[in-house]
Symmetry: C2
Subunit: 329 residues, 2 copies
């Protein structure tokens, strides 16, 4: 995220305490934001605000920056809890927070960061934004529940529509729909109704692109372990499509590995499965689907911004959205 946004996020967090325990607590709150995410959602919100006519150095721009800080805080508290829920080892190249401090302290730090997200919403003081954040959490938690249920119950009898429902709820609202809407609200404008279908399509394209990069990306550019999703047993469109078409022996080998806990998995077999997936048509199938979703979303979005006050900013935003859905990292 941009440095001035990080400073804004950190300015909300507590930073004094006589006891060493409190200092540790404050460091835990600052840890994930300081690891530096890409700031995709906050940039989209700011781009939407500019396209809606918000000029730099206005009170509306200041409010948009607080809303952007709130989105970053959302992302960070959710990641702390997600990392526990998935028992992830790493986050942004360093050990996950619960691996550093244990699960109890990390749950508590995530809860506190959640509250500071609301502090940022409060600071922005833009009418109509509280329901947007409530709606965002509702969808994200519902999608997360779906995903976690399938892991818990070791379910693989899923179809592509199941995946799409999960991704819309869990990723598309907080990544695209809500940032677009918050940008409008920061400008004092009612959000276009087309932001929802546009955002759901683009959010889906964004997530499928992420799934593709995780399997077939360039490790140096992507920054995460290639194949990590496979090892974690993530339900992706690629895997669900492949399960429908794979030879019986391959499908059986896959289901056997997915029935094992992560430390018990046969890494050579997982590497074979990885290769089968890459050699199948399923990566291309998912990429084509993502491409179509991106085009659909971009068309809706460019319609929605047709009469936006700042057409230069609107065009930049559309280009950035296209880049996100087709990115290499």
């Amino acid at each position: 995220m941009r440095p001035d946004l990080l400073s804004r996020v950190l300015s909300l967090l507590p930073d004094s305490g006589t006891r060493p325990e409190y200092q540790q607590y404050h460091e835990m709150l600052r840890d994930y934001p300081q690891r530096g995410g890409k700031g995709i959602r906050s940039e989209l919100l700011l781009a939407s605000a500019r396209a809606h006519g918000v000029g730099q150095e206005t009170p509306e721009w200041e409010a948009a920056l607080w809303l952007a800080a709130a989105l970053e805080l959302f992302q960070n508290w959710v990641l702390i809890h997600d990392d526990i829920e998935d028992d992830s080892e790493e986050r942004r190249g360093q050990p996950a927070l619960h691996r550093l401090h244990g699960v109890p302290l990390a749950i508590n730090a995530g809860d506190a960061l959640h509250a500071y997200m609301w502090a940022a919403v409060h600071r922005a003081d833009v009418p109509g934004t509280m329901p947007e954040f409530l709606n965002m959490i509702h969808h994200t938690a519902q999608g997360q529940h779906l995903d976690l249920c399938w892991v818990e119950d070791r379910r693989w009898d899923l179809v592509e529509d199941d995946y799409l429902e999960m991704v819309r709820q869990k990723t598309a609202y907080y990544t695209v729909v809500i940032p677009l809407r918050l940008g409008a609200l920061a400008a004092g404008v009612a959000p276009s109704e087309q932001f929802t279908p546009a955002g759901l399509a683009l959010g889906t394209a964004f997530q499928i692109r992420d799934d593709v990069l995780n399997l077939a990306g360039d490790a140096a550019k992507y920054g995460k372990e290639i194949g990590g999703d496979l090892l974690e047993g993530k339900r992706t469109m690629i895997v669900l499509h492949w399960l429908r078409t794979a030879p019986d022996a391959q499908r059986q080998a896959f289901l056997t590995q997915m029935g094992l806990n992560r430390p018990d998995k046969d890494l050579q077999m997982v590497a074979d499965i990885h290769r089968w997936l890459l050699e199948s048509g399923s990566v291309n199938y998912a990429q084509d689907y993502a491409h179509a979703q991106a085009e659909e979303g971009l068309a809706l979005l460019s319609q929605a911004f047709q009469h936006a006050p700042d057409q230069v900013a609107a065009a930049e935003m559309l280009a950035a959205m296209r880049e996100l859905a087709t990115r290499e990292a």
Copy 2:
């Protein structure tokens, strides 16, 4: 909690969903509120609102009820996460949520319930209440961090002031200080500055009373397992006072047991320690301390309400606070 308040809480939570996974998610959100807590904090808030002149069936009363619902939602999401952090087995006579559904789904449900707490604050629409909830979470999370750190580091080299700091942060703000303040704000009145020292003293008295009941209470009345805190290794004023005065052999036996994980503890030895604690003067010492704190808090509170518009309601509230600090269950 009173039935109309429970209905209000439930009315905020999602209750439709075509997928069985979503139905499970909705049931998880409703589970803890429906198990029925005592509603201590919401009742205190409502009593404070009445004493400040809020009459039944007014818009201010309606707002106070939404704030009371928000306090109940706070209590419930915190309990879901606390139960994971302490790995508790039971809550209100039934298995803890994470024992029913696993840790990942329970963390996620707690996060969603946290968001619905803010939905209730939003519905109340009373100026100045968002910072109160932020402040409440800040103190509670900070106190929780302190408590969890000591457990994580197996620290017993603590003095009574450490305990008092932890209890003020973790319990007193959300149990007394903030409910008193929210009652004033619901009436459109600036909260008395004396609510903070009064609430810290009364909150401390309340928690020490709870610690005493947990060791020496009547199981039938108290409703929780007597000695449960001891088995969980809770840092209480009673234990910290006793550690300073106990014979060396008893202290050593205690520290040995506390160094073991719960399943490895020697239950006969824990029962012996329980008896030593009851036979020592430490229970009385803590009870006397709680008594003095209660008197100090009640004196401050009765001063603060000296000119309150509804003196009958103020007197009832003071009597209820006295009852809480001296209760048998």
